[in-house]
Point group: C2
Chain length 294, copies 2
Amino acid sequence: MDFTAQLQAYRNRVERGLADLVPPAATRPARLHAAMRYSLEAGGKRLRPVLVLAAADLFGAREADALPAAVAIECLHTYSLIHDDLPCMDNDDLRRGRPTAHRQFDEATALLAGDALLTLAFQLVARHYAALPAVCAALTREIADAAGSEQLIGGQMEDLLAESRADATAAELEFIHLNKTAAMLRAALAAGGLCAGAGPAELELLRRAGRHLGLAFQIVDDILDATADSATLGKTAGKDARAGKTTYVKVHGLAASRGHARAQSEAAIAALRALPGDTAFLVALVENMAVRAS
Amino acid sequence: MDFTAQLQAYRNRVERGLADLVPPAATRPARLHAAMRYSLEAGGKRLRPVLVLAAADLFGAREADALPAAVAIECLHTYSLIHDDLPCMDNDDLRRGRPTAHRQFDEATALLAGDALLTLAFQLVARHYAALPAVCAALTREIADAAGSEQLIGGQMEDLLAESRADATAAELEFIHLNKTAAMLRAALAAGGLCAGAGPAELELLRRAGRHLGLAFQIVDDILDATADSATLGKTAGKDARAGKTTYVKVHGLAASRGHARAQSEAAIAALRALPGDTAFLVALVENMAVRAS
């Protein structure tokens, strides 16, 4: 398997899905739809929708095309970035080198575009899986719970509360990482399984892989922020440390952080290897990410 | 039928549903859940969830208890109020005599509480109708589309754009009323029907009744803003006119507005009367609202 080519193929499918399934920018009100597309088209790794598609591909006989679920999860991720960037949250002017939505448009438009992308995730699931109500209902539950007040939004809230103090504990940090990051990766892998008719035991393995992948991802992110230079990173390095933010590296030290990242990656890979089908791509994706921090 | 007693009985069911189905204020993160409950518990007429319950009651043999759908729609309505009140939108300090969410907590908490209530609507539907996947899928689609970028959020966006100019046309005003107000009333009646196993023709009648009720409701609101004193209204009268906002009364004049409100109410009642079951409560609800403006 050529990992890079396969990753690009998945990303291309995601880009086409976004182009096809999100309302055109000219849809009334045009300003709102233009802002939604502006943020979706900012690019990024498309990690979450790629996970949906790759998880679905593990199962030969699919119940439903996983692309609408993949697009729905990217809409959710993009909404969370738009709202995170707002002045009352992180107050960021740039994302991936472009003005953030509220800088390019205005705050009210950015707020509503975020709301609209969150809602669109559920519209897409409801519309595209209408002929398979059981899949539709299970997908809605999986992604709504992951996005909800006890997971994604709860993680953002605790992150915000922790930012104002420099003494967040290891347990608080784990709550934030589990909910702000891991919950949506877990839901992405499970959503792929749900589209493909995975059984309960397989869904649990997918969720476990997503949870460990999410934790590894967040620890690696903290390690890179502490060790890489800005050029390598493609964004300002050392930002978290300077902001006085509690990071994994600050709480556990660099050596232990590397060990924990490795352990989480291995746990993700072990869960993936217990699944049927050809898991080589997903295993390579986890290894690729983990290797950046070592 | 004692309209007032029946309305109170429905409202009591809604209050109990909110208390039971929304996560307790102590759920982690406590600040987020406290803000969600603070806004939900601000009271209000509970018009939308009452419509869900009353529509379900038209059909004798119910498929599912309509209460979770009613609570979901009240969560959606409350999220839209929280975000509407934010400084970048209407910048309101008070709602129903209490500090708005961002004044009582802070902007970031209010933003996230709104996001969380929007998401909770879909969590509730997914969780409580899991045993009836077809009902779950249809409900998700009905309320997601009504809340989406081409309806509720689209109406808010156009309302915002229209506010900055004093020359909004009658067509623009109708787009705003249809989407910002009528869409969710229509979804509320349809959601009640979906929980109760209503057929396609019945669902269409419910949607038509909701659409006309929503338009009547918004015209009456504009008439009251122009004619009632603040004491009668329970809020500042004449606010729209002073803000230079285009209202129904400004575009059509008072007499024509009263005529249109009456016509929309009658169209809502005609659709209701074509439905099976005892429609007396819903008809009385429409008449009660319309009479306030005459």
